[in-house]
Amino acid sequence: MAQNETNLDDLILSLNSIEVMYDSVLLAIKGVSIGVPRGGMVALLGSNGAGKSTTLKAISGLLKAERGKVSRGDIRFDGKLIGDISPQDRVAMGICHVIEGRRVFEHLTPDENLDAAAPQSMSRRKIASEKERMYEYFPRLADRKSSQSGYLSGGEQQMLAIARALMTQPRLLMLDEPSLGLAPFLVAEIFGIIQRINKEQGLSVLLVEQNAIAALEIVSHGYLIENGRVVMHDTAESLKKNSDIQEFYLGGGEGKNFQDIKHYSRRKRWLS
C-alpha cells in the first residue's frame, strides 16, 4: 500500500470511501477509495460483479440512468467535489467514460459518431481537425468512416467508442473492459494507442479490466476490487509479482487444481 499517501494536488481524480446504492437497498460498493494521478494510468482489476463498472459509473454520473446513487463518501475531480453535477457537465469538465460493450451509435456512420460527441461549443474547423486526429490514431476507422457503424467489426467498434470519447476533449478517460471479446492482437493495438495518447497528450486514464495481464503491462498502478471493496493497491510491477494476483488473475502460480484455488480464494476473502 505504498502509494496511498500521494499528495491530493497531484491527483486528477480521487474517490474517498464511496458507497453506491441501487434502488436505495442494494449496496454495490462498500467504501472504495482510489486515486488517479495527473497524466497517470491506473487499472481497476477484479472479477465479474466486483463493482468495477459501478465505480466508473459513480465517477461519470451514469449511475443516474440505473437508479443508483452515491450514498456516502466523496468524489473529487481536479480538486472539486462532483457528486451533484450532471453527467453532461462532468463530460464538459473533462471526464469521459467509455461504457462497457462499446455501444457505438449503430445507425450513424463513424464520422457522424464523432460529430455527435463533439462539444456543442466546438467550432466546425476544430471538429474537422479533431476528427483528422482520431483517424490518424485509428487508421482502421478512416477506411470505414462512411459505412454504418453497426456493421463494423468488434475491434473497429471499440476503436470508434474510444475515438468518440476523445472527441469530448477529456482530461480523464475511463475505459470499461475495452478488451472484451477482442483478439489479442487487437487488444495490443488498442492498448498501444491508449498508451501513446497518454504519453503525447498527458491524458489520465482509468482502466477497468478483467484481462489483468494486458492491463498491468500499460498502467503504473493497479487496484484490486473484490465484493465492492478495494482489497489490494500497488504498483503494476509489484502486482505482477504478487502470488495471489498471479494465482487468481494472471493464471500463473504453481498449477493448483481448480478445487484448491476456489477454496483458497474463499479463505483469502474472509481474511481480507
Binding site: S60, G61, L62, A65, P87, Q88, R90, V91, A92, C96, H97, V98, I99, R103, V104, F105, E106, H107, L108, E112, N113, D115, A116, A117, A118, P119, Q120, Q148, G150, Y151, R164, A165, M167, T168
Partner: protein, 295 residues
C-alpha cells in the same frame, strides 16, 4: 373506363396522402430523436388548430399573426411536455413512455373539449374553393396548398437531421446511455424534438382545420399518421412522404371501386389493411432502418 376520372382520383388521393404525411412527419421527428412513437401527435395537431383559432376568431387577430404566435406557443408546449411528463422517464422502458404519450393524448383531448366544446368550428385560411382544373382534372386548392406545406416541411426536416444538432438527436434515439456518456443532453434533445413536432402539429392542424373544420375528430388523424409512419418506416422522413402518397392513392382509388361492392366505409378498411400487412410483412416499413444484427 374514364381515364381522366381515374387520374383525378389518383392525384387527389396523393394530395390527401401528403396531408397524412404531415401528421406522420411529426411522429417521425420524435421517433428519430427518442425512439418513441408519439401517440399524442393527433391531439397536438388538434391543439395547434385550436390555438390558432383562439387568436384568429376569439381575439380577431389576422392569421399572419395568429399562426406564428401559435407556432411559438406550441413549441414551448412541446418543450414543456418533455420537462413535466417525460424527463423522469428518460432511460426507462419504452412501453412506459408510450403509455405516457397515450395519457397525454387523452389529457389533451379532454382539455380542449372542456375549453372549446365539442362543436365544429371553421378555420378559414382564405384559400378559394373555386374549381381548379389541371387539364381536365378537378383538384382541390387547399389540398394543393397542404401538399406544398408537407413538401416544404419534408425538405426542412431532412436538412435538419444533417446538422450537428440533428446528428445528436439521431444519436440519442440510437442509445440513451452512450449519449449521456459523451455529454449529449438527452433531455434537451428529446425536448427539442417535441418542440419541433409541435410546430409541425400547428401546420398540420391549420391545413386539416381548413379541410374538415376544427373539432375533436382532428385528433383521430393520429391513426392515419401512424399508419403512414409505420408504412414508411418510423424513422424515415422520406418514408413518411412516400408512404403518405401511397396510402392516399390506395384509399382514394381503392375505396372508389370497393365502395361500389361493399356499399361504403371501405376507406378505413384499406387503412387498417395497410397497417396490419405492413407490420406482418415488413415491420421496419419501406425505408425504415433494420435492427442491426452482426453475425
Amino acid at each position: 373506363m374514364d381515364w381522366i376520372f381515374l387520374a383525378e382520383l389518383t392525384v387527389n388521393g396523393a394530395l390527401t396522402g401528403l396531408l397524412y404525411s404531415l401528421v406522420a412527419i411529426g411522429l417521425v421527428l420524435i421517433y428519430k430523436s427518442s425512439a418513441v412513437p408519439n401517440l399524442a401527435q393527433g391531439a397536438l395537431t388538434m391543439l395547434g388548430a385550436y390555438v390558432v383559432l383562439a387568436f384568429s376568431h376569439n381575439l380577431g387577430w389576422p392569421l399572419w399573426i395568429a399562426i406564428p404566435l401559435a407556432v411559438v406557443i406550441m413549441f414551448f408546449v412541446g418543450i414543456g411536455i418533455e420537462r413535466v411528463a417525460l424527463r423522469r422517464l428518460a432511460g426507462r422502458p419504452i412501453v412506459m413512455i408510450l403509455m405516457m404519450t397515450m395519457g397525454l393524448d387523452i389529457f389533451l383531448r379532454g382539455t380542449t373539449l372542456a375549453i372549446w366544446g365539442g362543436s365544429s368550428r371553421s378555420l378559414n385560411l382564405g384559400v378559394s374553393y373555386d374549381p381548379f382544373f389541371v387539364g381536365d382534372m378537378l383538384l382541390s386548392r387547399i389540398h394543393i396548398v397542404g401538399a406544398a406545406v408537407a413538401i416544404a416541411i419534408f425538405i426542412a426536416s431532412v436538412l435538419f437531421f444533417r446538422t450537428r444538432m440533428g446528428i445528436r438527436l439521431r444519436a440519442i434515439s440510437d442509445d440513451y446511455l452512450a449519449s449521456w456518456s459523451v455529454g449529449i443532453s438527452v433531455e434537451g434533445g428529446v425536448a427539442l424534438s417535441w418542440g419541433l413536432a409541435s410546430i409541425v402539429a400547428v401546420a398540420t392542424g391549420v391545413i386539416w382545420g381548413e379541410v374538415q373544420g376544427v373539432d375533436q375528430s382532428l385528433s383521430l388523424l393520429l391513426l392515419k399518421g401512424l399508419t403512414v409512419a409505420v408504412l414508411g418506416g418510423l424513422d424515415s422522413i422520406l418514408g413518411a412522404i412516400v408512404a403518405g402518397i401511397i396510402l392516399g392513392i390506395m384509399e382514394s382509388v381503392g375505396s372508389f371501386y370497393l365502395d361500389a361492392i361493399v356499399g361504403g366505409g371501405s376507406r378505413d378498411l384499406i387503412v387498417a389493411a395497410v397497417l396490419i400487412l405492413t407490420v406482418m410483412i415488413r415491420p421496419h416499413g419501406l425505408f425504415g432502418r433494420h435492427d442491426i444484427e452482426r453475425i
